[in-house]
């Protein structure tokens, strides 16, 4: 299977894209400001919970159990959803999911759709597929709408337009809504967006949404949000299509008690989301009279095999790891070249694509552990990053080019040195002499090859004349005299 996550196939490697992002001062200020605000709110709302760690344990356990018996719970969800009047479709990959959606939209005679809360649709590039099929998609989540208007890419899992400030947004609204009088006053912008979206909510007959949770026990689907635009999108159209990744299923309604506490606190620092929508199938005379679910695999089932990899599917897309990540906070989300950015993106995107794309992402971390600390379902992201680095290294070493890469040659040589104290001591003496070639005003400068990445920006104290073990030996000799 050829899985893509958005536009990863053509994305620059992380170090290259990050360098570009770092040069954009406005972007960095916006990202730092937004992540600081959410982080502070989150810690306030987490610290007031005496059972936070137990909630994390419970969330982790529910997800681990569900993923272990995913086949069972998916089939149960399908049965219950259909019994309640919904229709369930299974999509192996992006192509199948988009084809199902297009076929359904044509069947119901639509040429436009309103969309909300479906990052998964970005994963499969649904908007582009719809447009090719002559269907116009309108994003109705405010931030998604801003991203769509700017022909932009999302830069955060929860707040996709976080890299934009209100002045940029005002400019975009003036252009796209033909409202030249708009100022950047937040109330005015919100009201303009409301007018613009209301008209579409009233007109468009087909809606497409994502899901935070799909409940196997009842066949219900749950979407949480802050704006109410999701509620409009889910209730107003005649036909509703929910695109749901297979990992979103949970066994019972009671399991929501855990996630509806941890998700809003982790995502936006709220005790509860302002809008929690939960619906089951079709209710005659109320809301959409046709309800379809597309269950999407797109590489997910490959992750079920190994424990370490399966854990990634526990993610509830709260984005807390992004806000906590010191790398993400410098670069923003677009440097990851994948709609799933930050620490979770760095493990999810490469795995969904069987490491065929996004290969630089597992290295885009210092392994500082801030992501793991805040994760509400306890995904050990640093451990998974190391695991993926191992897989990538093994793959590289199986090719001649990889075997002969300067990094591999250096790592093999250093490994040999570490295995022999005698060689190690000789290497210490050699390094002390070799460094003389690169010394300038008492510092090591201009190191060659990959080590140059250090000395280009940072000073380095020369290796001292005596190693610790030489000091130890000398001391021993003195004492024995």
């Amino acid at each position: 299977m050829n899985v893509r996550v958005g536009k990863t196939a053509t994305a620059s490697s992380f170090p290259v894209a990050a360098k570009r992002a770092l040069a954009d001062e406005q972007l960095r200020r916006n990202v730092q400001h937004a992540t600081n605000v959410i982080r502070e709110k989150r810690s306030l709302r987490v610290e007031e919970m005496s059972d936070w760690q137990q909630l994390r344990d419970a969330g982790s356990a529910i997800k681990a159990h569900t993923l272990h018996y995913l086949d069972h719970y998916l089939v149960e969800f399908e049965r219950k959803c259909e019994r309640a009047g919904g229709h369930v479709h299974w999509a192996r990959d992006a192509g199948e999911a988009n084809a199902i959606a297009i076929q359904l939209i044509r069947q119901y005679g639509g040429t436009e759709v309103i969309k909300v809360k479906t990052m998964t649709s970005d994963e499969i590039q649904m908007n582009a597929a719809l447009q090719v099929a002559g269907i116009t998609p309108y994003e109705t989540d405010l931030a998604d709408m801003i991203v769509q208007m700017g022909d932009d890419e999302p830069s955060h899992i929860v707040v996709p337009a976080l890299h934009r400030n209100r002045f940029e947004i005002a400019e975009m609204f003036r252009r796209n809504m033909s409202r030249p009088e708009l100022t950047a006053e937040p109330g005015e912008l919100a009201s303009a967006a409301r007018d613009y979206l209301r008209e579409r909510f009233m007109r468009v007959k087909i809606g497409i949404c994502g899901a935070n949770f799909a409940i196997a026990e009842t066949g219900a689907v749950c979407v949480v949000e802050s704006e109410g635009n999701g509620r409009m999108c889910i209730t107003m159209p005649e036909t509703l299509i929910a695109l749901i990744g297979i990992e979103k299923v949970i066994p019972t309604m009671q399991d929501l008690e855990v996630f509806l506490q941890t998700l809003p606190r982790s995502a936006t620092g709220e005790r509860m989301n302002p809008y929690n929508s939960l619906w089951t199938g079709v209710l005659p005379g109320d809301g959409p009279q046709a309800f379809h679910v597309i269950l999407l695999d797109n590489g997910r089932s490959d992750l079920l095999v190994e424990d370490r990899e399966r854990e990634t599917l526990a993610c509830i897309r709260c984005g807390a790891c992004l806000n906590a990540c010191p790398v993400y906070r410098e670069t923003g989300g677009k440097a990851y070249g994948s709609i799933y950015s930050g620490p979770i993106g760095a493990i999810l995107s490469p795995q969904l694509q069987q490491l065929k794309h996004s290969r630089s992402l597992p290295y885009a971390s210092t392994l500082c552990g801030a992501c793991y600390e805040v994760c509400p379902v306890k995904i050990n992201i640093p451990e998974t990053l190391i695991h993926l680095r191992g897989r990538i290294t093994r793959e590289e070493q199986s090719t001649l080019r990889g075997k002969l890469s300067p990094e591999n040659i250096a790592m093999q040589a250093v490994a040999k040195i570490f295995l022999s104290p005698r060689r190690y001591e000789a290497a210490q003496r050699f390094a002390r002499i070799a460094q003389l070639l690169f010394q300038h005003q008492g510092q090591v400068t201009g190191l060659p090859g990959i080590a140059g990445g250090w000395t280009r920006f940072r000073d380095l104290r020369p290796i001292p004349k005596q190693s610790f073990r030489e000091w130890w030996n000398m001391r021993g000799e003195k004492e024995s005299k």
Binding site: A18, V327, R389, P464, Q466
Partner: protein, 245 residues
Amino acid sequence: MRISLFITCYNDTLFPETGIAVTRILERLGHSVIFPRNQTCCGQMHYNTGYHREAIPIVRQLVDTFRSADIVCVPSASCVAMMREHYELIAEAGGGPSFLEDVRAIIPRIYEFSELLVDHLGVEDVGASFPHSVTYHPSCHSLRMLGVGDAPIRLLREVRGLTLRDLPQEEQCCGFGGTFAIKNPDVSVAMLTEKQSAVLESGAEIVTALDNSCLMQIYGGLHRAGSSIRTMHLAEILAVDGSSQ
């Protein structure tokens, strides 16, 4: 007590003064220090960069070297984190059952330097005197993986003449991250720049930590920027003997 010192490869080569300081402190407290000659590296660089197969024999050698040690003292939080978090996984993946048994036997006897003093030996005042202002950078591995808590701060509080200064945003990574620093130099330096500003804001003369790797990064930035703020491993501060001054 007989304490075996695992100096770690980069301390041995680049920061011998840290090992000398650890030795002096432990001896001053009446312990005898042993330095097994066969030690080299804990395997962290290979393992964290993805060279898992290559890390196995390095780990095997280190475990063999310290097999008979009563207590192992390691003046590097990240190396201790490597041992505690990954050695069992490595032994499970790449060795016989005896390897795993050896790993399980040695892990509980391995202590990071400040853990050894405060948690195991119950010492907070090591008789040091250091009349300077100091700020403490809690390295990510000491903070989140080892959970050393306030052990280093308690040790610093007992040092005569020392003024402890708060480090703003102290829990933020310095951007070192092993091979991250050279694979992603631009991001690494952007993170370092933030840490540097925080250090300057603290107003301290000296930055200390439990990891010379982070201190090497912080030094690299400060020195390039022409700052006179010095970096010192916690042990080097604690080694300055108060009674001889």
